[in-house]
Symmetry: C2
Subunit: 338 residues, 2 copies
């Protein structure tokens, strides 16, 4: 065998429980012999420059150079004068797609048991343009932008994702009856691109109907693609279906790099107490491994997580158990089968 250079990954442990769940991920990855070298970078809790950034230029460049990042939860500054870290990263790294797989996990009690869907969110435009002003006092205009190139990017990403992951259906979620031009452009673009993927069933559905079905019978969905704001809402809604943000993986994808992330909070009340559940960050790391081509390690860790949760012996407090982060980490490591 050739000696293969390790992948370098930028790790943002973040704040609160961030460092301990990051440590858990590093330990589990090491046990699974994942060929990764981590490079730790900081997220700041206060703006570090005039522009209000919470992250150094060199950290963003590291993600560009190494192609991979993994990000823990981080604290949002109080007050004004800072730029949202997520929005900054998405814009500067052109992370145009946010991908969130949601699958019911045996061992985690929720009202639903057959959820297996993926939300794919356009991550750069829509209501997130940042273009807002008061036309007269008391009347605010906000520009929602929908562009053909962004629609093409996200639509193609969704269909490629479906094809690669052997998924059968893509639904484009929209409100084109009301936003005829903007959301109209979105669905027309999705439709056009769908014709290149004849093996995948393509449908369109209004975002309100989508959310009604998600709370009534979420098992009807497979891959879902949508503009930014709908994606923000639906991806959290879907996380709720499988037990919450503590269990949900998330990936932000550009054409040349990607940042995977836990989307839950920093849980300051239990920070440093060895009580946090590292699952969301771990499964985000698993997504990254699969994208790197490290399928074997990715699936081995994923299986170990599923076994640990369904066994139910070492659950952390958020899942009604009493295990420490370390107990859970050891249990996952014990289930790794390479």
């Amino acid at each position: 065998t050739f000696s293969q250079k390790n992948h370098k990954v930028v790790l943002f442990p973040g704040h609160g429980i961030g460092p301990e769940i990051s440590q858990a991920v590093c330990d589990i990855f090491a046990a699974a012999k994942v060929p990764i070298d981590w490079e730790h970078h900081e997220i700041y809790t206060k703006p570090i420059n005039e522009a209000g950034d919470l992250i150094k230029e060199e950290s963003l460049n590291a993600v560009i150079n190494y192609k991979w990042g993994l990000k823990g939860p981080f604290a949002t500054p109080i007050g004004k004068g800072y730029r949202s870290l997520n929005v900054t990263m998405r814009k500067k790294l052109n992370l145009f797609a946010n991908v969130r797989p949601c699958r019911s996990l045996a061992g985690v009690k929720t009202p639903y048991s057959n959820v297996d869907l993926v939300t794919i969110r356009e991550n750069t435009e829509g209501e997130y343009s940042g273009l807002e002003h008061a036309v007269v006092p008391g009347v605010v205009e906000n520009l929602k932008i929908i562009s053909q190139p962004a629609c093409e990017n996200i639509a193609r990403y969704a269909f490629e994702f479906a094809r690669k992951n052997n998924r059968k259906k893509v639904v484009a979620c929209h409100k084109a009856g009301v936003m005829k031009k903007g959301d109209g452009l979105f669905i027309n673009t999705c439709k056009k691109i769908s014709s290149e993927y004849p093996e995948i069933e393509y449908t369109e559905e209004q975002i309100d109907t989508v959310c009604m079905k998600l709370s009534k019978n979420p098992e009807v969905f497979d891959v879902m693609v949508m503009p930014n704001l709908y994606g923000d809402i639906v991806s959290d809604l879907c996380a709720g279906l499988i037990g919450g943000l503590g269990l949900t993986a998330s990936g932000n994808i550009s054409h040349t790099c990607a940042v995977y992330e836990a989307v839950h909070g920093t849980a300051p009340d239990i920070a440093g107490l060895n009580k946090a559940n590292p699952t969301a960050l771990l499964l985000s790391g698993v997504m990254m491994l699969k994208a790197m081509g490290l399928q074997k390690e990715g699936f081995a860790i994923e299986e170990a997580v599923i076994k640990t949760l369904s066994e139910g012996k070492f659950l952390t407090g958020d899942l009604g158990g009493k295990a420490t982060t370390t107990d859970y980490t050891k249990a996952v490591i014990g289930h790794i089968n390479l």
Copy 2:
């Protein structure tokens, strides 16, 4: 006792199953001795003028004159060249608030059993401005408008509603971290008005978090107030929690008139077959009765619906039963206790 003039109500039976469920409502109201005279008005399936209207000016005027309307499901024309009926009514009648109570119904199996919340949606602005254009080919701008007067109207309505209905909490749902000025204006206005209602607990929550909690533990919510598009999404999501649009009441409120409505579809596959479930339209009618001050009749019918559903002997096909619309109607009438 004085002889009291009956209320006049504009009834739009609509299309598909609309006429038969409207008949069921009229029969049940008659059995409950509701002092109402109905005036039937038509919704058209094709535009009736150049502007693309689906409703006559005189019908809108009738709602203004009589103050009350009840609307069944209606078919949306295929293609372009018409104006959305709902949007037209909201604009022309200034129906600034959409109110949707969602309460778990015994006898209707859903994943949740303790839902008891009300969504209050601003009904006139936000992304529904209709202001859209392509700045250059392939780039569409849509104006999301948030204005102080509309925020005040809806916030005040929400707090008044909470007070009158003895509800404890109001949560304002927003995305002010991203739309700092627009959604910021919304929550600042809600907050200002909340100070006039010290007995009601006021909180603010991001719309994505709201939707996550709705799918995870919806029982935490009470009255929810929000801008137009979020309201469109959340009110359907909440309908899903209690069994779908076939069971959900809806009211559109102005300062001087109101239109109550079933928000489900026309179900053309079962139209005319005496199989439709009239519950959504009936409970919308009950909302109307309570708003008219006809509490006794309103509660009597509501109780009769709850009994009929929880008894489970005469359920229509959508709820897994075999009863006809007429069977169900008779059962409800049988349970009316004046």
